[in-house]
């Protein structure tokens, strides 16, 4: 991982939408008045949700003003976390987990598919400018490996065919149903529950 590149094309201004502003205020209220700065990660994530998965400089300055902290402090946080993107990544941002369990279950093939169907290099937009993909470290869903994350949702138990289908749906500007592609419920066995049968909500 190299230092995150700041996009050369930047929007002039950034402002939270009405709903997001309310959400931001809710986040800020979680902390004591003189510790407003604590809400910085939550706010940056909110920016990312609103702005097609990336954070423009205008938004960094906007968040800094909102929290009354220096720009550099927000900038530090934004460059530190790999979760936060500083240049456009596509409306559908595909993150393929390539850590050991996923890799053992065929993450390499999924990454190859992304290479073929989205873009040759990571973090480059696809031809229709809708998608981009990247390899990431463990997404914490090893039980359902291999896994990829698209925007806020996980797609689990992937195989080549299903992955291809998902990517094709994305290219049509649609978000496929998240979850296990084998229709597994959470991490339960694929054939249904085998234990705790008497407990309804288990």
């Amino acid at each position: 991982m190299s230092i995150k590149k700041i996009s050369k094309t930047q929007p002039e201004t950034f402002e939270f939408s009405k709903d997001n502003l309310l959400e931001a205020e809710r986040e800020i209220k979680k902390y004591p008045k003189n510790r407003k700065a604590s809400a910085v990660i939550a706010l940056l994530f909110l920016v990312q949700k609103q702005n097609d998965n990336w954070i423009p400089l205008a938004a960094i300055e906007y968040v800094a003003r909102l929290l009354s902290i220096p720009y550099i402090q927000v900038y530090e946080v934004a460059t530190f976390y790999s979760m936060l993107n500083l240049s456009p990544v596509g409306k559908y941002f595909v993150q393929v987990c390539t850590t050991t369990p996923c890799m053992m279950r065929g993450a390499k093939k999924i990454a190859d598919l992304c290479k073929k169907h989205i873009s040759k290099d990571q973090n480059k937009l696809s031809e229709n400018k809708l998608c981009s993909w990247t390899e990431v470290e463990c997404l914490g869903a090893c039980v359902n490996a291999p896994v990829m994350q698209i925007n806020q949702d996980y797609y689990e138990d992937l195989d080549e065919n299903k992955t291809k289908e998902i990517i094709q749906t994305l290219q049509k500007d649609k978000l496929p149903t998240p979850g296990s592609v084998k229709n597994r419920k959470n991490t339960a066995p694929s054939e249904g529950k085998t234990t705790l049968l008497e407990v309804k909500n288990a």
């Binding site: 190299s2 230092i3 800094a64 003003r65 009354s68 902290i69 220096p70 550099i72 402090q73 530090e76």
Partner: protein, 681 residues
């Protein structure tokens, strides 16, 4: 009470509460290598160089971050410690370039010094070394970020001491980089101190880049004259040239910081210098000889009545210069028309406490209430402002200001800016006066902007009366403070270079404006505004600036680094400046010029060497200190506004105005709107 004790290398030392293991080890005389730890900054413990062995601890501990407790047994000289430090050093050097021969830090580099003791002879690191792009941080700081070891001293300095958090560490892990937000120039007036703090050559001085190696320079410990604080500095010279100026530790004054102006105005010492006497002939200044110039001066003096002859002392004058000037005027000319207040502010010179900073700079830290009256300490006395900020961080004391000075790097409450507020405080009808009365050690700091004319007289005398009535002017705490901006001011008033009498404060300037003077002697006075008309003007000073422009005779003098001299700082502390260089060309030390003049006029002065001159100066100042009268004047109310005069910070005196670096800083600072943090919308 039992004093906690700690054993370092089998030596027992008593420790104070809150000490770290590192400090305890220093007490015991064991030196601990460090990079990130600095006494005046917060502790982060990220360089790991200070590892020591502690009994019952399986691993070595970072001594800078470990609180010392009673009974600890520390070892700093075992093989384990050495191995641990060697390991740390290996990691630090893994990515550090081997460019010491071309690095400006070479010779005064912590990493270089410590690798001498803890460095391995070879590295097992076979990967490529990390390359980091240079960062722009303004005209003063040169960066070579590949050399950075991420101690974050500079980041902590900017946010803690300077109070303008504009540096940060971006990225993570191996990709961490230190930078300002989008490579903006640093805005703090203390910014260049990060160069001294940097333990490696990542942040070095831009104007000094590749100028000299530290071991070739002659180092002279002396005093700064850029403001009235009297920061202790070290002047490094190479031959005649002043190469750089560094701070010197003085806990009572500047701790170990100096302002950017103090540090970088020194290139002004090489430019615009007066190196030979000049005489105006047919409207044009012509080069001349000393003999000719002095003879002309004396013959001109004879043409005028003694009450038509006046003298004005500039901002950078040392006491020798001022005293010999005064003696020359009194003895050889027989005139008492001299003045040192180029800015025409009100000063009550009859008691020493009326024009000094009585609470002292150290006292700021004990204070629990500060009222600023018509002053912007950030620009008027940067180092003093840093001390107020330190006090604020330490005690969270309440700070109020009359007049709006803008961002001071600490929060304060802005009060109205009318003199009626002063009256309300004095009568006790304003909430502030209650607050002052309730506090233990309040301070009122009166700046130049509040001291103009009759308004100034009202403000000063009223506040003094208020303080002495409430018993805040005492032996152990004096709340009355005047913030002067000129290095020469307090000393000049100590020596009585003013035409103030009981009834008239501004008689000199009234006469000047009414054209009663026809011969004017400017002693390094460049910040004057008056009509020249047909006055005959003599300018004596070091730089060809505003004063020299209008002069009929120019006598070249020495700048502050070129002579031994006494200075009194704004607290009234007498300090000695030492000669680091010598005056250029035919220029002479200023007191010698007056001596020569007096001898040529056959009215020799009372002294003929610097020792006897300094003795009589010290005697005069002692007289002033002993002279206490405790008199309060009640002045009729003057209704006026107190507005804070804007200061062209990088252009306040003739040396700074000649400096290219200061000019660059000035251009950049014009672009700053509000500092660091923009106000929340």
């Amino acid at each position: 009470m039992i004093v906690p004790k700690i054993i370092v290398n089998n030596k027992e030392v008593e420790i104070e509460e809150g000490m770290t293991v590192l400090q305890a080890c220093e007490l015991a005389g064991a030196e601990i290598p460090r990079f990130c730890y600095h006494e005046r900054l917060s502790i982060v413990g990220n360089c790991r160089m200070c590892l020591v062995e502690m009994e019952k601890s399986p691993k070595p501990i970072a001594s800078c971050a470990m609180p010392a407790t009673d009974g600890m047994k520390i070892k700093t000289n075992t093989p384990l410690v050495e191995k641990a430090r060697k390991g740390v050093m290996k990691f630090l050097l893994a990515n550090h370039p081997l460019d010491c021969p071309v690095c400006d830090q070479g010779g005064e580099c912590d990493l270089q010094d410590q690798s001498l003791f803890y460095g391995h002879d070879s590295s097992r690191y076979t990967e490529n070394k990390r390359q980091v792009k240079e960062k722009y941080m303004g005209p003063l700081i040169k960066t070579e970020m590949t050399r950075c070891i991420h101690c974050t001293r500079c980041v902590r300095f900017a946010s803690e001491i300077a109070g303008i958090p504009e540096l940060g560490a971006i990225g993570r892990g191996e990709d961490t980089e230190i930078t300002t937000y989008l490579e903006k120039s640093m805005e703090s007036e203390l910014s260049a101190n990060v160069i001294d703090l940097c333990p490696v050559g990542a942040l070095t001085s831009k104007p000094y880049a590749f100028e000299a190696r530290s071991w070739e320079l002659k180092k002279t410990e002396t005093i700064d004259v850029m403001d009235a604080v009297g920061s202790n500095i070290r002047v490094d010279t190479y031959g005649w040239e002043v190469k750089r100026i560094l701070p010197r530790v003085n806990e009572d004054i500047n701790e170990e910081w100096i302002s950017d102006k103090t540090r970088y105005a020194c290139d002004g010492l090489l430019k615009q210098r007066l190196d030979t006497p000049y005489i105006r002939e047919n409207g044009k200044l012509q080069k001349s000889s000393w003999d000719k110039a002095l003879r002309l001066l004396i013959s001109k003096l004879k043409l005028f009545n003694s009450n038509e002859v006046a003298g004005l002392v500039g901002d950078l004058a040392d006491l020798e210069m001022i005293y010999s000037f005064k003696s020359f005027f009194e003895k050889c000319i027989g005139s008492k028309n001299f003045e040192c207040r180029q800015d025409r502010i009100y000063i009550n010179p009859f008691e020493r406490m009326n024009y000094i900073f009585n609470s002292t700079i150290n006292g700021i830290e004990d204070s629990d209430f500060i009222l600023l009256v018509g002053t912007n300490p950030r620009l008027e006395a940067t180092i003093l402002n840093a001390r107020i900020r330190k006090a604020y961080i330490k005690n969270r004391l309440k700070i109020y200001s009359i007049g709006d000075p803008g961002d001071l790097t600490y929060p304060y409450i802005n009060l109205a800016s009318n003199t009626s507020l002063i009256r309300a405080i004095a009568y006790g009808t304003h909430e502030i006066s209650e607050k002052i009365k309730k506090s233990n050690k309040p301070m009122i700091i009166i700046g130049e902007s509040a001291l103009y004319g009759e308004t100034g007289k009202y403000i000063f005398e009223t506040l003094k009366y208020f303080l002495s009535k409430n018993n805040f002017i005492k032996e152990n705490w004096n709340a009355l403070n005047i913030l002067t901006q000129q290095a020469s001011r307090v000393g000049a008033i100590d020596l009585g270079v003013h035409s103030i009498n009981e009834t008239e404060n501004f008689s000199f300037f009234n006469k000047l404006d009414n054209d009663e003077f026809r011969f004017l002697y400017l002693l390094g006075a460049d910040n004057i505004c008056f009509d020249k008309k047909d006055k005959f003007i003599v300018y004596q000073g070091s730089h060809g600036d505003k004063g020299a422009e209008i002069a009929d005779i120019i006598l070249p003098g020495a700048a502050y680094t070129e002579k031994n001299g006494l200075f009194v700082n704004l607290e009234g502390k007498l300090q000695t400046a030492y000669k680091a260089s010598y005056p250029p060309g035919d220029a002479r030390e200023d007191w010698v010029i007056f001596n020569d003049l007096a001898n040529m006029m056959k009215k020799p002065l009372d002294y003929n060497n610097i020792q006897s001159l300094q003795e009589s100066i010290k005697k005069n100042i002692q007289l002033k200190i002993n002279n206490q009268i405790n008199k309060n004047n009640i002045i009729n109310f003057v209704n006026d506004n107190i507005s804070i005069k804007s200061i062209d910070y990088y252009y306040t005196n003739s040396i700074a105005r000649s400096s290219k670096v200061m000019n660059e800083c000035r251009q950049i600072s014009k672009k700053f709107l509000f500092t660091g943090i923009e106000k929340a919308s």
